[in-house]
């Protein structure tokens, strides 16, 4: 074989061997809209408490929206074993259906029914409420990073299976405090609803926290880690608060949440997990093969809040003066000192010098809202 013909087949080979190895794989079952109903919430059997159920729909694999697609205009109700119903309403139009404050009889069984706006009906199994024991303590430990722990126990030994979630809120203040804000090109003094010096951000937990005491002689959960904040994280630059909510689960509900916990891990690595199959207790009444995601439990909800200041911590890497704050002076409008027409939105009014210019500062130094959250002080903020 001559050298030229050798080359010829090798090139052919290379083309065949390695081109187009990877092609998108989108079988119809994946590309057709797979908007399955997701029911997320707990029937709250506490005293004078509100039950809140988030009804939304799954999104397709290729969708990049975050969170579920809210299911609006559905008829949602709590049903009891004796036939009574308590309607839930979506007051905010976000697919979050809430009840009026209720005191549900813990000797009854409860379930949920949903009728969507397109007329499809769904119902959960009736479940027996579980009494959630109180959180005995919520505390921190900080060898280096900071970890929040809960202790809880059920002297009667009936709870055994626990789930927690949490809401964390932290205050993040602007580096510089100004008393002025701009409304309709006019500089006006701030009040408590327009101030931009103190902000509070609130984030819900994004992991599933589960524990069980099934193998223990006593129903005691000791030092269950809720959340770990790495040393130096600026959430604890000022003041930080963690609200932990505890839910008692049945063994079935626990196993369901355990799968949710596993399925939310990363894909495409060496350490891939096997696919999880989710079989909840909410069933479609119209089309028996339609999947519904969620497991309806009924229990009281116990919660505990902890506040934390950075001064509580030891050897915390405090990140101060992260941003360079530039200031500049601009002449005040002669006709009305309040008129503000400065075009560069990266700057915002800082203070007036009497008879002198208006001092502007880099906006991110005076406006904490640029970093998210709200400027309205939460009611529980001490």
């Amino acid at each position: 074989m001559s050298a030229t013909s050798k080359k010829y087949w090798l090139v052919l080979l290379a083309i065949g061997y390695l081109s187009d190895c990877r092609k998108p794989y989108n079988p119809p079952v994946i590309t057709t809209p797979n908007n399955y109903l997701v029911v997320d919430g707990v029937i709250n059997t506490g005293t004078e408490t509100i039950t809140s159920i988030n009804v939304n729909r799954t999104r397709n694999l290729g969708d990049t929206v975050i969170g579920g697609i809210p299911e609006l205009n559905a008829q949602v109700a709590i049903v009891t074993g004796n036939g009574a119903t308590y309607p839930l309403t979506d007051t905010a139009g976000k697919g979050i259906y809430t009840s009026i404050p209720l005191t549900l009889d813990i000797n009854q069984q409860y379930g949920i029914t949903i009728k969507t706006s397109d007329g499809r009906k769904y119902a959960s199994d009736l479940v027996t409420p579980k009494q959630t024991p109180p959180i005995d303590s919520l505390y921190i430990q900080q060898p280096y990073d900071l970890t929040f722990y809960v202790n809880t126990h059920d002297p009667a030994g009936n709870t055994r299976y626990y789930r927690w979630d949490y809401i964390e809120t932290w205050e993040h203040d602007a580096q510089l405090q100004t008393g002025w804000t701009v409304v309709n090109h006019l500089i006006v003094p701030m009040d408590s609803t327009t101030q931009t010096f103190q902000c509070w951000s609130t984030v819900n937990s994004s992991t599933i926290l589960l524990a069980n005491t099934a193998i223990l002689a006593q129903d005691i959960v000791n030092a269950f880690p809720i959340e770990t904040i790495p040393n130096g994280d600026d959430r604890v630059n000022n003041k930080y608060s963690l609200l932990v909510r505890e839910y008692a689960l049945t063994a079935d509900a626990y196993n369901y949440w355990l799968l949710i916990q596993k399925t939310s891990q990363k894909l495409g690595t060496l350490f891939d997990l096997q696919p999880s199959q989710l079989v909840g207790n909410i069933h479609p009444l119209s089309n028996p093969n339609e999947p519904v995601i969620g497991f309806m439990s009924a229990s009281s909800i116990r919660q505990k809040r902890i506040f934390l200041y950075q001064t509580n911590l030891t050897n915390w890497q405090h990140n101060t003066n992260v941003y360079q704050c530039d200031t500049l002076g601009i002449p005040v409008d002669r006709t009305d000192y309040r008129i503000y027409t400065y075009p560069d939105t990266l700057f915002a009014p800082y203070y007036f010098i009497s008879g002198g210019p208006l001092i502007l500062a880099t906006r991110r130094c005076v406006d904490c809202l640029l970093f998210g959250g709200t400027n309205i002080k939460p009611s529980y903020w001490k």
Partner: protein, 926 residues
């Protein structure tokens, strides 16, 4: 075994002295022989005298010499030796001794007949010149022994009624290579026996005259006219059928399917294997196995194969008795077996002989040749991706032979020349393997075999993660023949398999993830054939396992990876077995065997205890117990039954039945979603029970057209217990307590296999179709979840329809065309269907387990084989093979996987051979 002759020592005890002071003709010799073959005596005489013997080994192979002599001449010795036999001898002046039968060679012109001291002649013998004899021989040179009456045993004993046993080796006359699976049969007695893996046979038959027919694939049919006086040895040489155009590849296989007792067994010689076109033109054992009915693979270029609805870890793959854990190279593109050091394969699918155990689905026995014992020869092959070189020959003629082979790839440069835009220019892939086998014949009753095997693979696919794996095996076998009725085979060896994944590109998280399996084994197999009606086999074997199920180590000082090592596991699997093949009548035979296997899970190991009545989860671990080194942690034991029966409906049709129970103490767990396989091997332990299988099968075999077309239908039904499947969300890699992530399932598999085969003529090949299903069921709520609502669900290797066509058409002696067509249903897959948010967490909603399938698989390959000229005496033979793999260019899915990109989950189908691939391979044989 009752008749243990001290024959083994004869080579050491035989003495031979020459007094050299006298002339050649009167040279005196002394010696002592006990049942020695003629060749031994001749060799001794040649060694110490100037004489050379000329004789036909096939004529003297029935001779056994028992005599003691002291200070006699060669002439006296030969007179004594051949007295009362029909052997004649003649000695000419240069010192050549011609041994013949029935006639005497005249070494001088007839005028010198007066020199009667040199030539013993009898009235009935017509002396002829040696040259005349040679020309006579030439006219029938192919079958010199066929027309002779061969005497077996000691004629001097009075012929007595009764039976005698003859035994010996069937070998290739050219290379001395033993022929496995050759059929010896005596039509008048309806007797058939097969040669074993060493080419050895034992045949019990009435004393007297018989015609023994010998047939074997790829060899010319031959026959021996024998007269049996007493037990004796008969070695048979067969000739390769060189021109297979009109005459036959045949016979053995064409008869075997209706006549043999084996059911669901496929035996293929390397010659048949080499006719199947494969990618890159390299004959491939594994690819050919995949064309057999009942054998499938999970995907293209995947490691391993599935037999009758079994998983890939349920196949025992033996390469010359060594267990091979990974039979594939280069992501499965090539098999680990260099085709030039493979003699043939046997695949047992249903009636698994009792001497094999430890796997549920099948036994694949890949045999290696002994190496040419007569002359040095070799083969070399050059293909687009690999080159190989094999050399074989006698270290000591007819005594010690060697075969050694190496094969390597040079695909790296191919990947390197690709343009960067192809996305594969950073990829690297290479492998090599090396084989060595030495056969040493101490004497006709003792043979030693040594084998060594090494394979290594390394690849990375356009990223820095490097995958490596390799097999290392060595063993030593001693075959000892006690007598014609019994022999033993004792084997000891070590097997090692390792694999690893490493990435050292980024110093901060440079890691190596490593696994290995080590086993040390001892086997002793005994075969006893008291008569042709029974072949009794029994034996004992033991395997000591040590597994390292995963270690995660940092590479370099700056790596922040934390070392994580799953502790080693130890186990001892031992078994005794006893089986009998009983030929009830010529049309009915039964094989029954029992194997009793015991498995000990050994320390040192820490075993977790779980709360009774609760799912095994990390949260239900109540305690852990540490067992010290060598402690017996858990013992499992069970009898295994192997039954099969054949009933011949006619000469051309038979019915076979088999029932098997099997145990398997080692499990493979595979992370199938990711594209990079990281299999975990796991021994049975207190929490993971052994897998158990039962298989019933029934087959109907019918040959047509004077046995040139064979057809078969086999149906089977299998039950599986304790087959491991994964819990939802199972985490397999580096799991210290894998029992929390798996559960045992009950399984059932059933199917029907059709085969139509024609192995003769210009057009030959086979068509097979298999319908097979495998279902698993997990309905135990104590596992923590039920799968698919507790219903039977398809196993991940369930592929209902499989069809294969292999066809060869010979245009002439030199040109042939091969076509290979493969179709199979895509394998099941669990697809993610949607993304949900629940409890603040985002997850994937998956379909029911294995509810969907990847696209069906279809491929057609064509190749043309051109042989060099067929002159037998040519110094070297070369051949070309050119063809196209995947002619239709179909993009068959190798793997389907999902990955997160910019917030969306994207699915990808990876096809390896996405277009048609031409190839050319050149082979040279010298």
């Amino acid at each position: 075994m009752n008749n243990l002759h001290p024959y083994f020592f004869i080579g050491c005890l035989s003495l031979l002295f020459f007094s050299d002071s006298l002339g050649q003709n009167t040279k005196k010799i002394s010696g002592s022989f006990e049942k020695a073959p003629f060749s031994q005596l001749a060799g001794k005489i040649e060694a110490v005298s100037g004489y050379h013997f000329y004789y036909d080994p096939s004529e003297t192979d029935s001779l056994r010499i028992t005599m003691t002599f002291d200070q006699i001449t060669v002439t006296e010795l030969l007179n004594r030796l051949f007295d009362k036999t029909d052997f004649r001898y003649a000695i000419d002046s240069p010192g050549r001794i011609f041994i013949t039968r029935h006639f005497t060679i005249q070494t001088r012109l007839p005028t010198s007949l007066t020199d009667s001291g040199r030539i013993r002649s009898r009235p009935e013998d017509q002396p002829i010149l040696a040259e005349d004899r040679e020309t006579q021989e030439k006219t029938k040179i192919l079958l010199p022994a066929e027309n002779k009456l061969l005497e077996i045993g000691d004629r001097t004993r009075r012929p007595a009624p009764g039976k005698a046993t003859i035994a010996g080796y069937v070998k290739d006359t050219k290379t001395g290579e033993p022929i496995v699976g050759a059929y010896l049969n005596i039509d008048t007695l309806s007797l058939t026996v097969l040669t074993d893996q060493f080419g050895y046979y034992s045949l019990s038959l009435p004393k007297g005259q018989h015609i023994l027919k010998i047939t074997s694939t790829g060899m010319k049919d031959t026959r021996r006219h024998i007269i049996v006086y007493t037990d004796g040895k008969l070695d048979i040489d067969m000739q390769e059928s060189i021109a297979s155009l009109k005459a036959v590849i045949v016979s053995a296989e064409k008869r075997s399917n209706t006549r043999s007792l084996e059911m669901g067994a496929n035996r293929l010689s390397i010659k048949t294997i080499k006719q199947v076109p494969v990618v890159f033109g390299e004959a491939d054992v594994m690819k050919v196995i995949l064309t057999l009915p009942g054998v499938t693979s999970v995907g293209e270029a995947s490691n391993g194969f599935n037999v009758r609805g079994g998983s890939t870890d349920q196949n025992l793959i033996l390469f010359d008795e060594a267990t091979i854990y990974n039979p594939s190279h280069l992501f499965g593109f090539f098999s680990s077996f260099n085709p030039d050091v493979v003699k043939g394969i046997e695949l047992y699918k249903s009636a698994i002989p009792e001497k094999y155990g430890g796997r549920l689905s099948s036994v694949l026995d890949v045999s290696m040749p002994d190496g040419n014992s007569k002359k040095w020869s070799g083969t070399a092959g050059i293909g687009p991706l690999t080159s190989k070189f094999v050399i074989e020959g006698p270290l000591k003629k007819e005594k010690t032979s060697l075969i050694a082979g190496v094969r390597t790839t040079y695909s790296n440069w191919l990947l390197n020349i690709l343009p960067a835009s192809s996305g594969y220019s950073n990829s690297k892939a290479n492998f090599y393997d090396a084989n060595l086998r030495i056969t040493h014949i101490f004497d006709p009753k003792n043979t030693l075999y040594l084998m060594g095997y090494l394979s290594s693979d390394q690849f990375n696919l356009n990223n820095d993660t490097v995958y490596k794996y390799g097999n290392r095996n060595a063993n030593i076998k001693w075959k000892h023949i006690f007598n014609n009725k019994s022999f033993s085979l004792v084997t000891a060896g070590v097997d090692h398999y390792q694999y690893s994944v490493s990435d050292d590109k980024q110093p901060l998280n440079a890691f190596r993830l490593g696994f290995n399996i080590n086993q040390t084994y001892f086997r002793s197999d005994f075969t006893y054939s008291p008569g042709n009606k029974h072949v009794i086999s029994y034996g004992l074997d033991a395997i000591y396992y040590q597994l390292h199920p995963g270690s995660f180590d940092p590479i370099g000082k700056s790596s922040l990876i934390i070392k994580n090592t799953v502790p080693a596991e130890q186990g001892l699997e031992s078994a005794v077995y006893l089986g009998d093949q009983y030929t009830v009548s010529s049309s009915f035979s039964v094989s029954a065997g029992i194997r009793y296997s015991v498995f000990n899970y050994l320390g040192p190991h820490t075993v977790y205890d779980y709360a009774p009545g609760l799912p095994r989860q990390t949260t239900t671990q109540t305690d852990s117990t540490f067992y010290g080194s060598g402690r017996f942690i858990k013992t499992y034991q069970a009898p295994e039954i192997r039954l099969s029966a054949r009933y011949s409906l006619s000469n051309e049709a038979s019915l076979k039945f088999s029932f098997n129970t099997l145990q398997q103490y080692i499990h493979m767990l595979s992370n199938t979603i990711s594209i990079s396989p990281t299999d975990i091997w796991k021994l049975s332990d207190p929490n993971i029970k052994p897998q158990q299988g039962r298989q019933y099968s029934l087959g109907y075999y019918r040959n047509f057209n004077t046995n040139t077309i064979e057809t078969s239908i086999e149906v089977y039904y299998k039950q599986l217990d304790n087959y491991l499947d994964y819990k939802s969300g199972a985490d397999l890699v580096l799991n210290h307590h894998i029992e929390t992530d798996v559960f045992s399932t009950k399984g059932k598999a059933y199917g029907v296999e059709f085969l139509l085969k024609r192995l003769t003529g210009r057009l030959n090949g086979w068509i097979s179709y298999t319908y097979s299903r495998t279902f698993l069921k997990q309905d135990d709520p104590l596992a923590g979840e039920v799968i698919n609502k507790g219903k039977y669900y398809p196993a991940s290797f369930d592929k209902p329809h499989n069809a294969n066509f292999i066809g060869n058409y010979r245009f002439s002696h030199r040109y042939s065309l091969s076509v290979n067509v493969v179709y199979s249903t895509g394998r099941p897959i669990t697809l993610p269907l949607a993304v949900f948010s629940l409890g603040g967490s985002t997850g994937l909603y998956y379909s029911e387990r294995n509810q969907y399938r990847i696209p069906d698989y279809f491929r057609t390959d064509i190749s043309i084989n051109i042989d060099g000229n067929h002159r037998v005496k040519k110094l070297s033979h070369n051949s070309w093979s050119a063809g196209i793999y995947n002619v239709t260019g179909r993009q068959n899915a190798y793997s389907v996987y999902f990955t997160q990109e910019n917030g969306a989950i994207k699915g990808y189908k990876l096809s390896i051979f996405g277009t048609l691939i031409p190839f050319v391979t050149y082979n040279i044989k010298f």
